[in-house]
């Protein structure tokens, strides 16, 4: 039995027009297939096209050519409103710069996608309480986004993206604004939802995040230069001392 891929991108191309009208290729012929339940990290230097790629996959930017299939359905030909429906029903997206609704509380920001997705108010509230708890934000529920630090806003953005229990979680640098301690909460939540079967595709330069992934895709100048599994070299076990010795 073959499973339908969660994502299938075929020869995906994105060319921007520069200010002087010159074409600037950002993504140059990407083929990418992601299976349901898979966790894929996209890495690469800045300007390599990673953010553009994740935006294309979420329908937040339109492709120049190529195809995008989500859950076996063609998506690149959808209208803007078609994409909006698809995102509401199936995709959670964590933006690099959060995009929280400024005149709503943290709690409402997180509950909104679940309510729009058809969840009951009670279910939306329980889900929100769970996610904010996991991310150490319970006592910030009544605050406005502007009252939060960058790191707190980033965690709220993750909670919002997961509120709807989306089929697919897409994220652009979800730990870019976090210190070590807050990153740990995000890592824990990502690995927990992944274990529960969540499909995740995210852009990151943070090796702790990429280390959780099943597979890493490396981009350079808009093309995939490496795509492979992260294998564990040894079985679980050992102490910090072994690692220190290994690296010494």
């Amino acid at each position: 039995m073959t499973t339908t891929p969660a994502i299938r991108a075929v020869n995906l191309v994105k060319i921007y027009q520069s200010g002087r009208g010159l074409p600037v290729p950002a993504v140059r012929g990407v083929d990418l297939t992601v299976d349901p339940g898979e966790f894929v990290a996209i890495m690469g230097p800045s300007g390599s096209g990673k953010s553009t790629l994740i935006h294309l996959l979420g329908g937040l930017d339109t492709r120049t050519s190529g195809e995008i299939w989500l859950d076996g359905k063609r998506a690149d030909t959808l209208s803007e409103s078609g994409w909006a429906v698809l995102r509401r029903e199936k995709i959670g997206f964590v933006f690099q710069f959060f995009n929280l609704v400024t005149n709503m509380t943290v709690a409402d920001n997180v509950e909104l996608p679940a309510l729009l997705g058809g969840a009951s108010p009670r279910h939306a509230r329980e889900r929100r309480e769970y996610l904010l708890g996991e991310l150490g934000l319970t006592d910030r529920a009544a605050a406005a986004p502007a009252q939060l630090s960058g790191g707190e806003q980033q965690r709220v953005a993750l909670a919002r993206a997961l509120a709807n229990q989306p089929r697919l979680l897409l994220a652009d640098e979800p730990t870019g604004n976090l210190d070590s301690r807050n990153t740990r909460d995000v890592l824990k939540l990502l690995s927990r939802v992944h274990r529960q079967g969540q499909t995740i595709v995210l852009v990151t330069h943070d090796a702790r995040v990429a280390g959780l992934a099943d597979r890493v895709v490396s981009l350079l100048d808009g093309e995939i230069v490496d795509d492979g599994a992260i294998v564990r070299r040894r079985g679980p076990g050992g102490t910090a001392g072994d690692v220190v010795e290994l690296r010494g």
């Binding site: 230097p45 280390g211 350079l220 230069v225 294998v231 910090a240 690692v243």
Partner: protein
């Protein structure tokens, strides 16, 4: 090893096995457990250099054990060690050497080398993450050491990215 033994002896005289136990108690799981033979060899060298002296203590039914104590010269060395800045970590020069030389040999290209190295670093990072999960949250020494290893690894990965951008 020399300095850590001197530091422990600056606190109080001790015999070799006590030093091993003290190191284990202080660093917990964060450091490879010291080998007793290595401790005795190091103590021998320190004694030869005049940094420590030993006295034999008689034991009934057993061979005498040696108790070591620090000398004035040893204290001076320890003081100098504590006050001077510690050398920074070195760049991974073996990998860099491969990276620069590989294309000349025709055996491997740089892109393949960098990709393989990246996957290797990420699998190390994964192990470190799992190790941090398994480590007792109260064991701060071990957790800080793991975090240090992670930060070094992140720097190695960032540098790898720069190599990929800059080297044709």
């Amino acid at each position: 090893m020399r300095q850590s033994l001197l530091a422990l002896l600056a606190k109080e005289p001790a015999h070799g096995y006590e030093l091993k136990q003290a190191l284990e108690a202080i660093f917990g799981s964060a450091y490879p457990s010291p080998n007793i033979g290595q401790i005795y060899v190091t103590l021998g060298r320190l004694e030869k250099d005049g940094h420590v002296r030993s006295v034999g203590v008689e034991q009934s039914n057993r061979p005498n054990k040696k108790v070591y104590y620090i000398t004035a010269a040893g204290l001076e060395t320890l003081q100098a060690w504590a006050e001077e800045p510690t050398e920074g970590p070195r760049v991974r020069d073996e990998f860099f050497m491969k990276l620069v030389l590989a294309p000349m040999t025709g055996l491997s290209d740089r892109m393949a080398l960098i990709n393989r190295q990246r996957r290797h670093y990420l699998s190390l990072m994964r192990e470190l993450g799992e190790l941090a999960e398994r480590t007792d949250p109260g064991d701060r020494v071990a957790l800080l050491l793991i975090e240090g290893a992670m930060l070094h690894l992140q720097a190695d990965l960032d540098w790898l990215e720069r190599c990929q951008e800059e080297l044709p």
